[in-house]
Amino acid sequence: MTKATNLRLDYDVTILPPKSFFQPQNETLLSFQRGKGYRSVIETEPFLLLGVHPYDMVAITQMDEIFSQGNGDVHYVSRRQNATIVVVDVENVSPDVFAGHMGTYKVEEGWDVLLTKVADQYLVESKTERGAALMSSLADVPDADQGWLEMRQLVWERNKGRLRRHELEAEPSTWPDLLEEAYDHPIWEEKAKLCFSCGSCNLVCPTCYCFDVRDEVHWDLVSGERFRVWDGCMLVNFAKVSGNLNFRKDEAARYRHRYYRKGKYVPSKIGGQIACVGCGRCITACVAKIANPVEVFNRLAGGR
């Protein structure tokens, strides 16, 4: 980008979430060479992520927890530590968003700077030292008074109401309990009949982080890299082990697994937060139109 006027902070949603800045699609973890063994490869430099929507910021904070808890992942965390994040509150509503139902239409944490378009101006708030450093470069900008802050509150209230392109009847907090009873629900089979196992819902999801690890050698055949690539639990070989044994060989089992991850398994690892932020990308991305979490959880809440 060469001109500030080319900046479109009013975008509705990005096709891919910002996760690739912390967990690249194809990320070298190690290099290796015969006789020398393996060496960690951590290549990252400070960067600014500008214009992240609140629901994506919530997803990033969830990934922060996943990758730093227990055995911390130095590759992810190094990238994350190098990031300065500027969140912008949503201006235009994307076709399938339901963040208004998920409590992710605004975000309190994780960012360095928050931009909110109020009237025709941006209200800027910094939360961290990095954010303050960024703001200090703004010359002659007046401080926001109480009136501006109240107007920002109205923007949030309005976003809460309008980021609801799908009407969720099942409160997110009820999802784990709904799933507790839903393992044999007919919806999994019904929906999965049309599933291509193409992983589109995984790939565009800001809270999907599963990965595959592979080695490739250079032409010398004695040196090369170990890298990880995005994987997805909807892909047919995801739960396959050696000897052709596949622990989730049916589409329905994989389809169900994905919703259990979003509504039950991952939440149990991150303090109960639902691992769906309502961005609606899966709904848009699914060719067969079977990947709507709102539809699934409404059905589960409505019984059979």
């Binding site: 096709i15 891919l16 699609q25 009949k193 049309l194 599933c195 291509f196 196992s197 193409c198 992983g199 589109s200 790939l203 565009v204 592979r214 490739e216 050698v217 032409w219 055949l221 995005w230 997805g232 892909l235 047919v236 070989n237 589409e251 991305a285 060719v287 067969a288 139109k289």
Partner: protein
Amino acid sequence: MSKPKVAIFDFACCEGCQLQIVNMEEDLLELISVVDPVEWREAMSDHRDGYDIAIVEGSITRHEDEERLQEIRSHAGMLIALGSCATTGGVNKLKNKFDLNDVKRCVYCDSAHLPHLNTALTKALDEVVKVDYKVHGCPINNKEFAYILRCILMGKKPFIPNYPVCVECKMKGNPCRYEYGEICLGPIIRAGCDAKCPSGGFWCYGCRGYVDNPNVNAAKEIMAQYHKTIDNLRGRMFLFGSKQEQTL
């Protein structure tokens, strides 16, 4: 370690996949640092007998070609099918949809009776001989070819995706071709091409062949959602998907 001897052969095809090997440019020098090409009509003027690895391009369309392929196989420790014509029969399989005599007359007119033009139903290589590895695509992705070859030299089974093109297309950040009102075969076709066509603004024609268990039924079912008919889908599958197991 002595370099394995490699021979490259072609049958009914446009030889574009071999051209992709030539197009490896600097990597071609790397390639010949690890293998010893002994026969390669498209790129070499001389040839030597004996080879460990046969790389075979093209599909089998004549009886005498079957015999030639069997002969090649009997000399090769390993056989690699190169490109769609070899891996699935490719575009050449189109003719299997029609009456063979009509096809001959249509293509060769008055010469159709000449013995060397006596064409048979098209076969992929693995319908005739055992194929060890397949390099998919029309044309092949030469980076994938190089990767597969390095794996073979390492004694390792290469990772060939068994997931649809959508995976790579999504990673590219492309909007779905269906959103443009097009029928794209991406959801049922094997990835590995880096979603070149959809990234270039075109639907997937299916040149790499189907994933192992394509949900063809779903492909049919979703036609109505996009205001298309199953005939529309059939038309799209015609070029590369003719007379294959999963064909409509």
